[in-house]
Symmetry: C2
Subunit: 240 residues, 2 copies
């Protein structure tokens, strides 16, 4: 496997150690794939007004929860047995932190599904679907790219995701303002517009979690914590 930057577990004496790290990574990516799917499905259920699909998504959140607990246990056991150091330890600790992010993405998907169900029953909201679709596309792409950056330990890609997060925040603010206007125009819109507002908020949070994952990737690769660092500073860390 090419360079130490691209792979952190190619050179251990113990094959078992390599296998453990590699299976932790794969299990994490599996969980990532599931919550990505859950988010996309929840948004589709909302836009299609499909209450049945929404129900299924909510039920499937139990699988996400199970994966979180299993991954945490797997990571803790790996530390206890293999006593990883340096990069490997950073890798395992980061996985533990990112697992919490994935679980929360799962929760946001479940929330969106809940509002999809409400709107399927009460009737569609008068507006806001274009904004939901737009932000959903943006944040699910970010999440996908963050998982990909993790998979390839690609700090440059992670940095690009950090930059996207600001744009999502702006899109969210603009969409929230638009919805507020609809609510003021006609009080009959308020309840259903509020549902869409919470969905937008949930999506914005998905973007935040994708960004957290990206920051962890940079930490794993570069050994520097860029969580509360302005993007320009993070750029210097990655560009070194």
């Amino acid at each position: 496997m090419p360079t130490s930057k691209e792979n952190m577990y190619g050179d251990h004496i113990s094959h078992q150690f390599n296998d453990d790290l590699s299976s932790l990574k794969n299990d994490f990516l599996k969980m990532g794939g599931l919550v990505e799917q859950q988010t996309t499905d929840a948004v589709n259920a909302l836009i299609d007004g499909d209450g049945h699909a929404a129900d299924e998504i909510r039920a499937r959140d139990k699988v996400v929860d199970r994966m979180e607990m299993d991954l945490d246990e797997e990571a803790t056991r790996l530390i206890a047995r293999r006593q990883p150091a340096a990069r490997d330890l950073r890798f395992v600790i980061s996985v533990i932190k990112m697992v919490a992010d994935l679980e929360r993405v799962g929760d946001e998907a479940k929330k969106i599904a809940k509002f999809a169900l409400t709107l399927a029953e009460e009737g569609q909201a008068p507006r806001g679907y274009v904004e939901v679709r737009h932000i959903a596309n943006h944040v699910t792409a970010m999440l996908h790219d963050a998982l990909d950056a993790f998979s390839r330990l690609d700090a440059e890609q992670a940095l690009r995701i950090m930059k996207e997060d600001k744009r999502v925040d702006e899109e969210y603010q603009a969409a929230a303002r638009t919805l507020l206007t609809f609510m003021m125009e006609d009080t009959r819109n308020i309840s259903r517009c509020m549902a869409v507002m919470w969905v937008l908020r949930a999506l914005e949070r998905v973007g935040d979690h994708a960004c957290n994952i990206a920051e962890n990737v940079i930490y794993m690769v570069e050994g520097e914590d860029v969580r509360h660092t302005p993007v320009e500073e993070a750029e210097k860390v990655v560009g070194r």
Copy 2:
């Protein structure tokens, strides 16, 4: 120190190891005290319409962020140097996870301060302050008790906090419905009522984080992950 349930680091051969664990614990509690204060201050700034106080809270969030990074580094270094096992490892891993919760509580306080600033400028919201005060008292008490349960490794107290979380959710739902009614009565209320709505949401999240900390305390003490367990099941784990 009394029994192994009450203290997990009284019997190490290495004094240095004990000191490391104990300083990790103290630093965590210090961060906990700060975010608890930030939450209380933010709610007071909101209710008093004190924009200056709100500004200070927002600035102080940088200290919270710094503490998060320092604690993560301290915990990672402890694992690398001391290679803790069993209960000690659970303790350190739990601290890493709970630190993320504390940082998010800090973020929620910062959000509340932001809305305090908006309302200080735009004029108070017409209603909702009673609800804010009520839920704020509830969740800051939960957070305080969760930190206390951690400090004393008290699983019974942690269990009580898990039970409170459901009540907070109900209070939040009721308050949100009340606000929605105000919004429908007069569209001039919408914008400021929305600000209060976001504050209520932020407080509800603080309750969730207190609950996460409580679940981690049970994991540390009992060695069982009760995060996605109904309270009745968690009760059996603690009561054994």
